[in-house]
Amino acid sequence: MNFSEAFKLSSLLCRFSPDGKYLASCVQYRLVVRDVSTLQIRQLYTCLDQIQHIEWSADSLFILCAMYRRGLVQVWSLEQPEWHCKIDEGSAGLVASCWSPDGRHILNTTEFHLRITVWSLCTKSVSYIKYPKACQQGVTFTRDGRYMALAERRDCKDYVSIFVCSDWQLLRHFDTDTQDLAGIEWAPNGCVLAVWDTCLEYKILLYSLDGRLLSAYCAYEWSLGIKSVAWSPSSQFLAVGSYDGKVRLLNHVTWKMITEFGHPAAINNPKIVVYKEAEKGPPLGLGRLSFPPPLPLAAPLSASESKYEIASVPVSLQTLKPATDRANPRMGVGMLAFSADSYFLATRNDNVPNTVWVWDIQKLRLFVVLEQLAPVRSFLWDPQQPRLAICTGGSKVTFRCFLCAGIQVGTPWPSSVRITSVFVSWTPKRGSTQLWNNGTAMRRPWWNPQQGLRVPGLGRTRFPWELSGCHVPAQ
């Protein structure tokens, strides 16, 4: 795996454009847009304050830069560098800002979730949406960008409003049978909305686009419930990860459970391949030891490499004993991700933090277990191939890729960077294919020296840190 030189970066703000052509990154109050293929700076914009959040519009024409502390949003156009737009939320404050799927509207959430302001770039119109609920995932757009579902809270009851994104008209408004709604998520086909309750109660509700309740599912009671939810890209399955360490798959016809995947700490089935990451001890001659030892940052890439070894079954995995007397215990399935072709499901059980489980959805059984040396921070499927990128982090971060197509090939790309956290994103479609065809080792992984990580589908994290190194693989 090759790396480009390091770029300066602040607050983990670095995004590929949706078309994969550009790369936007922030350095303090400056926004730098680079061409992905050449890594040359294409545009340079200066904002009014330190940028805290950036987002590309869906058509890759505009970039939104949010400065929450000042309640400001600035929008830049890639085509017209002189074009500018500034939105001031005033005394209402700003906690979140995002694009609507059409790339012509900006949704700003004010402080205390008083309202959501929808600013249009086409007309002067401004829409307000009252009573948004402050929750894990309160806003979701359908994949085709037509509809937006919004969780609301009125009179101590949860409601869901469905808006038409073209003119922000309220299409449906219905109350949900939840104690304290925790999240909503559209199915990829845009016809079914999954609504799940807070972790105190295991409840997942499925609503049709027209607001009918299709089904409700409850696996058990009296215990901590749902921790994560993921739709398969084919909309055929809904995977529900819960605090009992199991993933339950619901089907799209009857909305009943097809199967449940347990995450035991010991694997006895000899059919399952368990890959264990192992240190590939670097040649450490005595003569090479220097005193004083070199600074950690001086040689970030000379750290020991690692490889996968096939462990002989039965294997017992490293487990954490969760503190059950504290809130948000480290247990249960906290991360779920379907591969783009819906054939595989990757999960992480939070009390087995070093392990990624890959399940075969066609055969509905465990496929591969990947045990890393360090806790898994995040993983992400390649949008086009059944490939999985895994980031692990401790004092150093390794990034590896695992190919599941046909014969699964453990393809570790060991590389260590002295950073504390990591952010992974695959470049979207076009660019990545090009890069792949060019024969580079892989599509560009992206790492960032910050705490907090972005897990797909869990909303945005803000990154209050200062700059550090950023590696972009060279061609």
């Binding site: 500018h84 001031d88 770039l121 009179d155 104690q179 845009g190």
Partner: protein, 614 residues
């Protein structure tokens, strides 16, 4: 004397006791009373016993004592001590004989009594020991009883304790249940309380929010603005439209369209799946029919009508279905028909398969029962047989190869003859081998016989010598002593000598004659073979080939030597004898007895018999 006393004393005492018992009614003599008293009182003073006994009869009371004794004895059934008086007046005389008889009888009685006493004592002892044993047993059983009783008590106690425990546990369980109930109640109440509080808080929060909203929004905050250079066009290029009822309706329409599309898509998928499943079902059905119809013919013939009709129905159904090709018709009737027919067929198939399974298992079981033991043996035997066969075949192949090579080596003059010869060769070889072994055995036997014969001959010679010497001496004596019986004796001698002299040889001759026939008949064949062999195998005049001939020859030679009635020789034998004369000659000078080696066992037998004679 003391011993006797010790033995008799108890007897006496017993007797005296008996006496006392018996005479209790009768009038007692004073002396006896006295004596009894004395006896009773003087048992510890055994010293005086004798003196008291002596004191029983004194000079004065002889008469009395006699009469007393008489009386006593008569009561016991003894004859009177007195002579039978002729008259009543006359004083009765003491009959000494009777006294003695009585004494003797008493003594006998005494002895008997002693014996009985002894028996009784031993019995008593036995009974005592039995008693002891029984007592021991009793004690043991008692102990056992006690222990078991104790155990029972212990078990009862444990049972009680367990029951107690169980009761306690039940109580605990109840308590726990109550506790759980209570806790659940508490949880529920807490939850309601919490929810209530939450609601209250939320309401407050909402109020605050509302207020904040009013404060913030109603101020007409000038700061809340959007500063944009120029508005950009919509992504789809259209102009924004006003919100009207129309747009609402349009949105609804669109939503329903989307939903409808989704449902249509799903329905299509389901239809496709259904069609595929139907196809599979149909195919399955067809295959079932094809599978079942030939198999079911027999049972149908067996007058099992139900299955037959079912099948015919099924076939009809199938025909209908195929004829109408109602794949696309998913109406109830068709579905029912299809599923029903499939079900029926499946049942038939299942029963059939089960039957087959049963049969198979039965066969399996039978096989196990019958041949589990035997089969192994059979198997082993079979393998052995097969191995043997393999060996034979290998040998055969080897010999064939050899022969082939030989044949190739020796320039074959005539194919057919050589082939014929080849045909014979194997057989011949086999036969020769057998003969060879037979001859070897015979040779061994002959050698043994020879040894025996020589020994016997030596012994015979010695005996003969001794006999002749004896005869000579005897004759001498005869001549010297007897002159009158000369004639008779000489005849006897002649006879004897004739017998003794010719006996061996006659026997020999007889036996040899009988014997000679057999070897000849055997050898008649073999030399031919040999000659053939020697002809056919000129290149390999191995010793093994010669050995049988040699033995054969030696036999012949011996026969020739011994021949008293020489046999006519066959022409080919003559030639062979000539060629092998050396062997016979060589065997001859070994010893004179060696000549006899050709003879059979009977020789030695005869000799042995003779050995026994002298």
């Amino acid at each position: 004397m003391g011993d006797w006393m010790t033995i008799t004393d108890p007897g006496l005492s017993a007797e005296s006791k008996n006496i006392s018992q018996y005479t209790s009614e009768t009038k007692m003599s004073p002396s006896s009373l006295y004596s009894q008293q004395v006896l009773c009182s003087s048992i510890p003073l055994s010293k005086n016993v004798h003196s008291f006994f002596s004191a029983f009869c004194t000079e004065e009371n002889i008469e009395q004592s006699i009469s007393y004794l008489d009386q006593e004895l008569t009561t016991f059934g003894f004859p009177s001590l007195y002579e039978e008086s002729k008259s009543k007046d006359t004083k009765r005389e003491l009959n000494i004989v009777a006294v003695l008889n009585c004494m003797n009888e008493l003594l006998v009685l005494q002895r008997k009594n002693l014996l009985a006493q002894e028996n009784v004592e031993t019995k008593n002892l036995k009974l005592g020991s039995d008693m002891d044993h029984l007592q021991n047993c009793y004690a043991k059983l008692k102990e056992q009883l006690e222990t078991s009783r104790r155990e029972m008590i212990g078990l009862q106690e444990r049972d009680r304790q367990l029951q107690c425990k169980n009761r306690n546990l039940h109580q605990l369980l109840k308590n726990e249940k109550d506790e759980v109930q209570k806790l659940q109640n508490i949880i529920a109440s807490r939850a309601t309380q919490y929810n209530h509080d939450m609601k209250r808080k939320e309401r407050e929060y909402n109020k605050l929010k509302e207020r904040l909203h009013q404060l913030v929004m109603n101020k007409k905050d000038k700061k809340i603005t959007m500063d944009v250079l120029n508005y950009v066009g919509r992504a789809d290029g259209k102009r924004g439209s006003w919100r009207t009822g129309k747009t609402e309706a349009r949105n609804e329409d669109e939503m329903y369209k989307i939903l409808l599309n989704d449902y249509e898509y799903r329905q299509k998928q389901i239809l496709m799946e259904n069609a595929e499943l139907k196809k599979v079902l149909q195919q399955m059905k067809k295959e079932m029919i094809s599978l079942l119809s030939p198999q079911k013919k027999k049972p149908r013939e067996r007058a099992d009508d139900s299955t037959g009709t079912v099948i015919s129905d099924v076939e009809e159904d199938a025909g209908e279905l195929t004829r109408e090709s109602m794949w696309d018709l998913s109406c109830e009737t068709v579905r029912e028909q299809l599923t029903n027919s499939i079900r029926k067929q499946w049942r038939i198939l299942k029963s059939h398969v089960e039957k087959l399974d049963n049969q198979v298992s039965k066969v399996h079981l039978e096989g196990f029962n019958d041949e589990d033991v035997i089969s192994r043996q059979d198997h082993e035997q079979e393998t052995e047989k097969l191995e043997l066969e393999i060996q034979q075949c290998k040998e055969m192949i080897k010999t064939q190869q050899q022969l082939l090579q030989q044949q190739l080596a020796t320039a074959c003059d005539d194919d057919t003859t050589s082939l014929l010869r080849d045909c014979y060769l194997l057989e011949e070889k086999e036969r020769l081998k057998e003969e060879w072994s037979l001859f070897k055995e015979q040779k061994k036997n002959f050698e043994k016989e020879r040894r025996n014969f020589t020994e016997a001959a030596i012994r015979l010679g010695l005996e003969r010598k001794a006999f002749e010497e004896e005869r000579a001496s005897w004759l001498k004596q005869q001549f010297l002593n007897m002159t009158t019986f000369d004639h008779q004796n000489s005849e006897n001698v002649k006879l004897f000598s004739a017998f003794s002299g010719s006996s061996d040889r006659d026997n020999l001759i007889v036996h040899s004659r009988t014997q000679q026939k057999k070897p000849h008949s055997v050898s008649n064949g073999s030399p031919v073979c040999i000659s053939k062999l020697t002809k056919s195998l000129p290149a390999s005049p191995s010793t093994s080939d010669f050995c049988p001939t040699r033995s054969c020859v030696s036999e012949h030679s011996s026969i020739n030597v011994l021949n008293i009635t020489p046999e006519e020789t066959t022409p080919n034998q003559v030639g062979r004898e000539c060629t092998n004369q050396k062997w016979s000659i060589a065997s001859r000078p070994g010893s004179q007895e060696g000549c006899y080696s050709g003879c059979s066992l009977t020789y030695t037998n005869s000799h042995v018999e003779k050995d026994d004679l002298p």
